[in-house]
Amino acid sequence: MTSQYKRYALTRAAQAIAVVLLAYVLTFLVISVLPGDSITNSLRDPQHGLSEEEIQRIVAFYGLDKPVLVQLALSLGRFLTGELGFSLQSNLPVAQLIGDALPSTLGLAASALVIAVVLAVAIAYGAHYLPGKWAAVLRSIPALFLSVPNFVIGLVLIELFAFRLHSFTTTDPNSAAATLFAAITLAIPVSAPLAEVLIASLDHESRQDYALVARSRGLNEASLFVRHLVKPSALPTVTMVALIVGELLGGAVITETTFGRDGLGTVVQKAVTGEDQPVLQAAVALSAIVFVAVNLIADLVSPLVDPRVKVRTEVHA
């Protein structure tokens, strides 16, 4: 097992690195090959206020006068050495821009994750144990959560809690209360698939023989839930991490805009409207790294959490 697990872990890690590099290449190609303004065009845009020498310097740095493949090689080489270039809008180093924005987004995403898990467990527990009518209502909640756009949740929360109840103010989006509501906004769509998986898993596990045995030993449902049902349900939840992290990173763009917060999402949004390719490229690459890394961890952890998971080293798509 252990040597087999080691091989599995190494293969997975190597695959993850390859996927990140390819994702970088894909992003680069999408940004620079698709029609639309190229960097040089947007550099000439007077709103950047760049002098001719500065433009020449940037052109030389990114190799903009060379073929796309050379630019790609240059870009990939810089990425591998951790050199992310400079923002075309502010001339600040991209690493600094993103580094400043990251803590806020990570805090938001982490709070959203906690809220989503709590919400999903509460919904699943209720859907499983409450009497008929309430259970039916709770069972339909995930479908509702999946149908409401993120920005609508945010706007409704702002309308209710900021404008009517004055629980927070939109002028101070980084306050604890405002962060809480932004996190709830981000958490609601994320909690839906999580709750669905938990409900399905609970339904399945509680029909198993061991659950019957535990009940016949006189274990009440609450301790059965905690001691026997949560653990087997944890695995499908761990494998859902992929989806969740993607939702959190993508949703941050909208949630931060809705609430007027600064963060990675706002950086992406500004980079898009300002055609700031280096910033966009780096932000997307960073998201891909986070996303792939979390997936890798989930893949490596699941055989440890649940011994029923077979460790496979073959490629599977």
């Binding site: 996927v19 259970a135 149908s147 609508v152 409704v156 309308e159 992406v268 055609e275 798509a317």
Partner: protein, 283 residues
């Protein structure tokens, strides 16, 4: 209290939902009705409202919902219901375009991957992995920023983010059917690859792919609305649902400007998702 052995009641979660086993459940009928209304809105908007979506009566600006203006009016006195109705065609057709792109491109990748196997499968599988490595909404944002801010480009971008899911499902379906005895028999009878594909693999995969397509239609409406909300779709006076919500949010004193189009989005997506779930169950 006194009993030594207490058998806890078996949770009764499942039976409550099992109503009529035959026939269509009422919620599904309602969902079909909602989708029908939306389709009619997009095909024949003029039948549903006599107001113009672009010309307003500035004397009646920011009016609350009333009998004359069901969804109220906006800052130019335009009837919001008319704007929602006329914005439907663009919102719905772009979601349709997105699903078609995902279905055709993803389906083709999945078919080739599962049918040919070998290095084709490996290469395409890696490609799908890479598509999945970039969080979906970010990928859509990057693509739409490259193509330019238009609703059709938002639709294309959304479609590209759906390619990976369709490819995975199609591949799984093909692999499942490919190894079945009847497919082997078909080969033994001298059936060509194309024959097997058309006669056995596609008809068997069609059901689950359809379910995904319907589900993805709802998701695409949400993603395209989000892109429009960020201003990555057609600019005003277009009235895509997401754009209506975005322009409505600047008027906190007129919350209907946000709630009415938002409610239309939610009801549409909810209905589409309900239909998809129903299709998945009815086998």
């Amino acid at each position: 209290m006194t009993s030594e052995i207490s058998l806890a009641p078996v949770p009764r979660a499942v039976p409550a939902t099992r109503r009529s086993s035959s026939g269509v459940p009422p919620t599904v009928l309602l969902s079909f009705l909602a989708v029908l209304v939306v389709v009619l809105w997009s095909l024949l908007p003029g039948l549903f409202t006599s107001y113009s979506p672009v010309v307003g009566d500035t004397a009646a600006k920011l009016d609350a919902p009333s009998a004359a203006h069901w969804f109220g009016t906006d800052y130019l006195g335009r009837d919001l219901y008319a704007r929602v109705v006329y914005g439907t065609a663009s919102s719905v057709s772009s979601a349709l375009v997105a699903v078609l792109i995902g279905l055709v491109v993803g389906g083709a990748i999945g078919l080739a991957s599962g049918f040919r196997g070998g290095w084709v499968d490996t290469v395409l599988g890696r490609f799908v992995d890479v598509l999945l490595a970039i969080p979906g909404f970010l990928l859509a944002v990057v693509i739409v920023s490259s193509l330019g801010f238009q609703t059709i480009n938002a639709a294309i971008a959304t479609g590209v983010t759906a390619v990976a899911v369709f490819a995975r499902l199609m591949r799984a379906e093909v692999v499942r059917v490919r190894s079945a005895a009847f497919v082997e028999a078909s080969y033994l009878e001298g059936g060509s690859r194309l024959h097997v594909l058309l006669r056995h693999i596609l008809p068997n995969a069609y059901r689950s792919v359809l379910v995904l397509a319907v589900l993805q239609f709802g998701t695409s409406i949400l993603v395209i609305a989000s892109l429009a909300f960020l201003g990555y779709g057609d600019p005003p006076p277009a009235s895509d649902w997401g754009l209506l919500v975005a322009s409505g949010k600047t008027y906190p004193t007129a919350p209907w400007l946000v709630y009415a189009p938002a409610l239309v989005i939610v009801i549409t997506v909810l209905s589409v998702n309900r239909i998809s779930r129903w299709l998945r169950k009815v086998k």
